[in-house]
Subunit: 113 residues, 2 copies
DNA sequence: CGGTATCCTATGGGATACTG
DNA sequence: CAGTATCCCATAGGATACCG
């Protein structure tokens, strides 16, 4: 491999290899969500951090912000095509996590390396 | 989806959704490497950070450290099966990165969303 | 609801020098 | 080569309160 600067994997890691980014992408992978909905899902993530993450992802063109109604005020975030194209990654992470991380799974005892 | 705590995707993100971890996994995805080799690949990563990352990944059982020879002293790191099972994720990231991130690609102009 | 503002702390991480 | 030690700083990020 080359030194990394022009490697698409490394580029991709630098673009979405961030825990908060990945979490938000995962939240939106099943459909659009509002700010507080995600905040609740995010466990310990603070509104400031979520806000920053959402801005970053918008700038990267991975999510879009949509004002659904003004009375009452309602906003939803959703994945763009660029974001949806990451679903396959999430899917593989799901398989990997199921195999290696869940304590109650058929692999963890027998296939532990 | 549930609130995240027991979701395998979220678990996986918390396990390997870290830029440095992902970078090292990518470096090792083509074969074993020594400390300084990775340091050179990592661009700006400092020895301290690389060292911490390697320790984290060993504790997670994603990589192993192997002393190849003592005279001269030579160590290599390699992926475990758990680590190798992440190659599919890297592969997807490669496809995604090629499609959406590389400036000179057939998609970026025409398929920009 | 959908955020922003402020405060404060931890810690991640670079640079560099050094050791076995 | 394979790291460890030290220093030093930026900034990520939690908690909380508040605003339109």
């Amino acid at each position: 491999m080359d030194k990394g600067e022009t490697c698409p994997i490394v580029e991709a890691i630098r673009e979405v290899g961030n825990e908060n980014d990945l979490l938000v992408i995962r939240f939106l992978s099943d459909g659009s969500l509002g700010f507080n909905e995600m905040l609740r899902m995010a466990g310990t993530m603070s509104p400031k951090t979520l806000s920053n993450t959402l801005k970053r992802l918008q700038e990267k063109g991975i999510i879009v912000r949509n004002i659904v109604s003004t009375q009452p005020f309602r906003v939803v975030y959703s994945l763009t095509q660029k974001g949806m194209d990451l679903k396959i990654v999430l899917n593989d992470l799901k398989a990997w996590g199921s195999k290696w991380l869940m304590s109650s799974n058929p692999y963890s005892l027998t296939d532990n390396r």
